[in-house]
């Protein structure tokens, strides 16, 4: 098994973990976003709650959720570790860094990731943590749909959610294509489509997410 440890402690192996967990988290975003978007049916939360209930109780999904938490933790832990090592790789910094030839967000994944982490802490403590705690202790779910109205009535919360979504947009804009590059999936024939899907994804998903608190706050949904 030494080879496996060697693999995942090598610089490339750590990047591999980042890419794999990143793509896994992206797939989670798709589901999360799809279900949450059910609120736009504006049917008093019937569809939303139906699917929310399914996600919260289905044994397969619940098992996968463990993987999801692990995925988050690995992604965060490796990200911080890489950030630290990359920092150490240049002990003396340059004094001039003018118009660099790379995008700012590709250079700021650590920063964007940290913002997302803060957001995540806030977000999970709004919904997921209380809900699961309640499930464990009381055996039944909380009314998430109603909680949403309560949480998003505070303009500051809405503001921070929007900031979180903007961070997510930049994080994905680099992360999506970057994951493919790390996995070695770089080919002239497919690079165009990867980058197109990546950009589209990074715009659509965070946009939909951001729309939710705004829509609730502005009472487009009731």
């Amino acid at each position: 098994m030494k080879w496996l440890i060697d693999l995942f402690t090598s610089s490339l192996g750590r990047k591999l973990l980042m890419a794999l967990t990143g793509l896994f988290l992206i797939s989670f975003l798709v589901i999360h976003c799809t279900i949450n978007a059910m609120i736009f049916y504006n049917d008093g939360g019937t569809t939303f709650s139906h699917w929310g209930h399914f996600m919260g109780t289905n044994p397969v999904i619940r098992t996968l959720e463990v993987g999801l938490v692990a995925g988050f933790l690995i992604h965060i832990f490796q990200g911080l570790l890489l950030w630290k090592r990359n920092h150490q790789a240049r002990p003396v910094k340059y004094s001039v860094s003018k118009d660099p030839k790379s995008t700012w967000y590709s250079r700021s994944m650590g920063l964007l990731g940290t913002l997302l982490l803060l957001f995540l802490i806030m977000h999970t403590s709004h919904f997921w943590i209380p809900n699961r705690t309640h499930q464990f202790t009381q055996g039944e779910e909380l009314p998430l749909y109603n909680m949403m109205f309560e949480v998003f009535s505070n303009p500051w919360v809405v503001f921070f959610y929007v900031v979180g979504c903007v961070s997510l947009f930049w994080h994905l804009l680099h992360g999506f294509a970057s994951a493919f590059q790390t996995l070695g999936l770089n080919h002239l024939k497919y690079n165009g489509i990867i980058s197109f899907i990546g950009t589209a994804f990074s715009i659509i998903v965070p946009f939909l997410f951001a729309l939710m608190p705004i829509a609730v706050y502005l009472k487009w949904i009731n």
């Binding site: 490339l12 790789a89 240049r90 340059y94 118009d99 660099p100 790379s102 590709s106 590059q181 070695g184």
Partner: protein, 255 residues
Amino acid sequence: MKITLKVWRQKNRTTKGEFKTYQHEHVSPDMSFLEMMDVLNTELIKKGEEPIHFDHDCREGICGMCSMYINGHPHGPLQTTTCQLHMRTFKDGETITVEPWRAQAFPVIKDLVVDRSAFDRIQQAGGYVSVNTGGVPDANEIPISKNIADEAFDSAACIGCGACVAACKNSSAMLFVSAKVSQFALLPQGHAERKERAEKMVAQMDAEGFGNCSNTKACEAECPKAISVSNIARLNREYFSAMVSSYKVTVGGGE
């Protein structure tokens, strides 16, 4: 032309360095950057000041020896080597800041001279085809498609200057390493040792203290030989497939 130069001066590896400012009054737009430095050095010697040390040799953009970080860019604002950069690129009266390559793995030896022997050690770890002199097949017994040969050449064009490391915010050496691994991964001659090569070179790269690639592509944008990041993707493929399938795993680099 007249310019103001801010140059990093550092006596040796252990002493602390600092920027010194020089007014350079005798600059012609036709000078190469290094010639401009030569003229400045002559003036310094005449004044009894030690000349600024910098690496250079071919002055043709091919040996990879020259290495100055000029105004925030390795080899200056154009995508070329320092020796091929000419003063007509700069404006009269401009202030130009010159720093050495900065990376843990490239310690400063003196002024603008850094130690890039880490690159050699990475090559020694596996950047070769194990054939002895003599006893090889006729050159035309190994047909190689022109496209593959051209692509291998594109990777092989790397001059080992280290600008990719200097440009990378993480001081990652991935572009350099991937270029070499790619050359041999593309050519049939390299196939026999393909797996060990990727494993050993990456292990050595890690042991040298370079940072990790985060795909910002600054390396590609600054590389004087336009080595493509598609090489890095190839290195990733080579490495992962080697690690999960090689017979005997011998990783762990060393000095």
